[in-house]
Amino acid sequence: MEIIKPLLQCLAALLLSPLLAGVINRVKAFFSGRRGQPLLQLYLELYKLSRKTPVYSRTTTWVFKAGPVIGLSALLAALAVLPFAGRPSFLTFEGDFIFLLYLLGLARFVTVLAALDTGSAFEGMGASREMQFAVFAEPAFFLGLAALARVTGQGSLAGMFGALTGESWRTAAPVLALLTASFFIVLLAENSRVPADDPNTHLELTMIHEAMALDHSGPELAYILYGAALKLWLFASLIACMVLPRHSGSWVLDSALFGLALLGMAAAVGVVESIMARLRLTKVPYLLITAFAFSSLALIFQLGR
């Protein structure tokens, strides 16, 4: 049974992650008074795309095709590290979050290369911005995890979140709150959400993640979209683990709660998207620096305690 659990957790992630995008869209539609897309729109699109014949630019090479494949694989591998409801997945070891961080880096690396392979001005632009934001997002994320490790005294993700209890929130509430805020900003930026990016437009002034996928089609695009969904799941579950420290002891109950929390995260993203305007592109680094500041403040608090 214990071996099955991680398998089930991963399966849940694989199956449920496209749902989050649907939730966000529904929340946004609700706020703007529209009916909006179906909740399962992304599933449909993935299915459709997987059956399409792709069109490849004559400029591109194997790099263009390898990008989505490796990118998705990296995210899938990241799932093997990601804790579910504070419980370990397949691979849990000291420093596993570094591995996670670098897997995300790998995904970014190949995506950017694939974008550059098209020789298009737009995709180059998107790639450039992606790398720029990563430079600010990664330290913020890293510092946040460091603070968390300091709070919990643990070296692995599952260990940290497993050790996080309601008691921790009582004793280290400011730290954890700051960290949650920081992670949330990183989530928004990394998943091309407002206010860092607008996933709905292809206007060049906003183009970041979306622009990089302009030339992809067919199964490759499906891979990219599915990868994006997984990435959102990944960040959302980290935050969910943090804000939901209480462990009932029952795996089923915890998992259900955790699933609800994830949906809540998606809803929160939708709310933010609905009530906020996108930032000017040049201001995005400052947003990420804010996240960085939150993380460092948290760490400094924690080191001082």
């Binding site: 059956r51 792709p54 591998a77 790998l106 290369l113 298009s120 180059g124 990563a134 199964p219 490759e220």
Partner: protein, 655 residues
């Protein structure tokens, strides 16, 4: 041990052979390359043996030179540096045969090979010398040989300038090392490493600082790096690979050796290393992002990696000073492992850059593009090397950094300053990693992907078979070292034990083995997933024939190579953000009319430290010298007056 000496003998004799055959380019090439390859094969055996068994060997002959003795020591630390040395020089030599063919008849290839083999022999000497005089002999031979190699294309003024800076830096560094060895051996009759007495605290600190500067000038960390980005691009590519992969590591090796003589360490030494390392890795990556030439990008990336190694050493020393042995052991192990890894991937990358230079005739990023089509075999190798340089799993770059991260996180749960050290080093690593990723996607993208930007790039040709062989071998090693990192732990532990102390390796072994095993498992999982995803994609595609078309440019149907994002535009958001540090020089068009005519844009990455610190200092010293030049004004009367005044002064003062 004897085989190591044999390798030196082979190297020297093949060097002289190559020199003698200088008139016949291809035979000189053969003599040099086969000599180097044979020496590598011979030398690898004992080095691996020592690493696997952990027994140190020492051979000593008398040397009729004051203070000197032919004492060679092959302990696991030496062996750990010798292994990448032999691997990389052997492969570089093979690579060089194809690479240098272009130059036959135009350049004295015999001399180049002689210098290359002497350089290799000198590095072997440095890694095995057990006597200060012998060490300095190897050290300076290394500098002289590489100086000649840097001057390979001495017709270019910037190459001569680079060589001058390099030579001067080397000379200054060597003088500091002499001072350090003098201090260390002040009380002993000979200057054998084993006979150095334990110095007093003040002396130890002085030795530390001297060694830091002296070895730092070779290792090339900031701010002592100024020669590196000039000299590495100037040398032939296989030499750049060796210089960057191994030669700058002699500085690290020397520093570790000297640290072994001045135990116990002070905490501030660790902090010094840590801060220098952090600054180096951050600024190195940042500067790499701003460069316009592929080999310069790689050179700055070497600075970044040296910074990482130094940072790890510093973290370890800070930890050791607080008694956190496991943390220190992890950091030291990470440092050493990164030495190995960096040698492999940086050697690969420089060879890749060399292939670009060889195939397209230029390595200017803005003149390249689309090489993945013209050089389909080189491109994946270079991009894989880039991924390794960004420490992406499952390649080898990750393993070393991972150990350092582990050490850094270990420190988080200890009190006070060690925790801060851990945070600083982890943060520096993460930020530098992100910057390096930007730099390498930029370099790889601009050179290999998209459309060719110039005629030369469009007509590039694939690298020769021997060049490809060397690069493939290195890629394979990169992958192997990444996946089989847990197997490296045992030899690594022996190297740490012999270089730093037994307690560290013992404490770290337990802490590192399980996580590394998991990392390897994760890497394998990743590879499996990639295979799965690729297979799934093929399944999706089925028998459908993908259509081909122009790049979708949001409706613009005639995209040209001039419109694609170039290297400067790719990095522009970041370089603008860091402009206060980078101080790029540039000319931006100011558009003042409604229908602007031709506009031009240029930007140039300048050598910030050199221009801001070293050049003014040099000019100031020269001006000072000129200011005193009137003393030699040519008038006899005053010359004699010097004599009289001095005599009178001496008489009045001393009598």
């Amino acid at each position: 041990m004897l085989l190591v000496l044999l390798s030196i003998v082979i190297l020297i004799s093949s060097a002289s052979l190559a020199l003698c055959l200088g008139r016949n380019a291809s035979r000189a090439q053969d003599a040099g390359a086969y000599g180097a390859a044979a020496a590598s094969a011979a030398g690898l055996i004992p080095a691996l043996q020592v690493l696997l068994t952990g027994t140190a060997e020492t051979i000593s002959f008398p040397w009729p030179v004051p203070l000197g003795s032919f004492t060679f020591t092959l302990d696991p630390l030496s062996a750990f540096f010798l292994v990448p040395l032999y691997i990389l020089t052997g492969l570089s030599a093979v690579y060089g045969v194809d690479y240098l063919k272009n130059y036959a008849g135009r350049k004295p290839l015999g001399l180049a090979w002689a210098a290359f083999n002497i350089l290799t022999a000198a590095m072997v000497l440095v890694f095995t010398a057990g006597n200060a005089v012998l060490f300095m002999l190897g050290w300076e031979l290394m500098a002289a040989a590489s100086f000649l190699l840097v001057l390979f294309e001495h017709e270019k003024p910037q190459v001569r300038r680079a060589a001058f800076i390099y030579l001067t830096a080397g000379g200054a560094g060597a003088l500091m090392l002499l001072a350090a060895f003098s201090l260390l051996g002040a009380g002993s009759a000979a200057l054998d490493f084993s006979s150095f007495p334990s110095p007093s605290r003040g002396i130890a600190s002085a030795v530390f600082l001297l060694a830091l500067c002296g070895f730092g000038l070779k290792a090339g960390f900031i701010p002592l790096h100024v020669w590196l980005p000039e000299a590495h691009p100037a040398a032939p590519s296989q030499v750049s690979a060796v210089m960057s992969g191994i030669m700058i590591k002699t500085g690290i090796y020397g520093l570790i050796r000297v640290l072994g003589f001045i135990k116990p360490w002070e905490e501030w030494w660790g902090w010094t290393l840590l801060i220098i390392g952090a600054v180096s890795c951050l600024l190195g990556a940042l500067f790499a992002l701003a460069q316009h030439e592929l080999k310069r990008v790689l050179a700055y990336s070497s600075i970044e990696n040296i910074g990482i190694i130094l940072l790890a050493l510093g973290l370890g020393m800070a930890g050791a000073a607080c008694g956190a042995d496991a943390l220190a052991g992890l950091a030291f192990g990470g440092a050493l492992l990164h030495v190995l890894n960096h040698a492999l991937f940086k050697g690969l990358l420089f060879m890749g850059a060399g292939s670009v230079l060889h195939g397209a005739g230029t390595a200017e990023l803005e003149a390249l593009g689309g090489l993945a089509k013209r050089m389909p075999r080189t491109a994946p190798l270079f991009l894989a090397g880039s991924a390794a340089a960004c420490a992406l799993p499952p390649l080898n770059g990750f393993a070393g950094e991972f150990l350092v991260y582990l050490g850094a996180f270990r420190s988080l749960n200890s009190a006070g300053s060690t925790a801060i050290a851990g945070v600083v080093s982890g943060l520096a690593l993460a930020s530098a990693g992100a910057l390096a990723a930007a730099a390498f996607t930029r370099a790889g993208g601009a050179a290999f992907l998209g459309e060719p930007r110039t005629e030369r790039a469009a007509k590039a040709r694939e690298a020769g078979p021997l060049m490809l062989f060397s690069m493939r071998a290195l890629v394979l090693l990169c992958l192997l070292c990444g996946l089989a990192a847990p197997l490296l732990l045992a030899p690594l532990g022996r190297a740490v034990a012999s270089g730093f102390g037994l307690s560290f390796s013992a404490a770290a072994a337990g802490a590192a083995s399980v996580p590394l095993l998991y990392v390897s498992a994760g890497g394998l999982l990743l590879l499996a997933l990639i295979a799965l995803a690729a297979a799934r994609r093929s399944a999706f595609l089925g028998v459908k024939m993908p259509a081909a078309g122009p790049t979708w440019d949001c409706g613009y149907a005639a995209p040209s190579a001039r419109m694609q994002y170039g290297a400067s535009s790719f990095s522009q958001p970041l370089t603008d953000f860091f402009q206060p540090i980078l101080r790029k020089l540039g000319q931006y068009p100011v558009i003042s009319e409604y229908f602007p005519g031709r506009a031009s844009f240029s930007s140039e990455a300048q050598a910030v430290f050199f221009n801001a610190v070293y050049l003014p200092a040099a000019v100031r010293i020269r001006n000072l010298a000129f200011r005193f030049s009137w003393l030699q004004h040519g008038r006899l009367q005053l010359y004699i007056m010097y004599i009289v005044v001095t005599l009178l002064g001496l008489l009045l003062w001393k009598l």
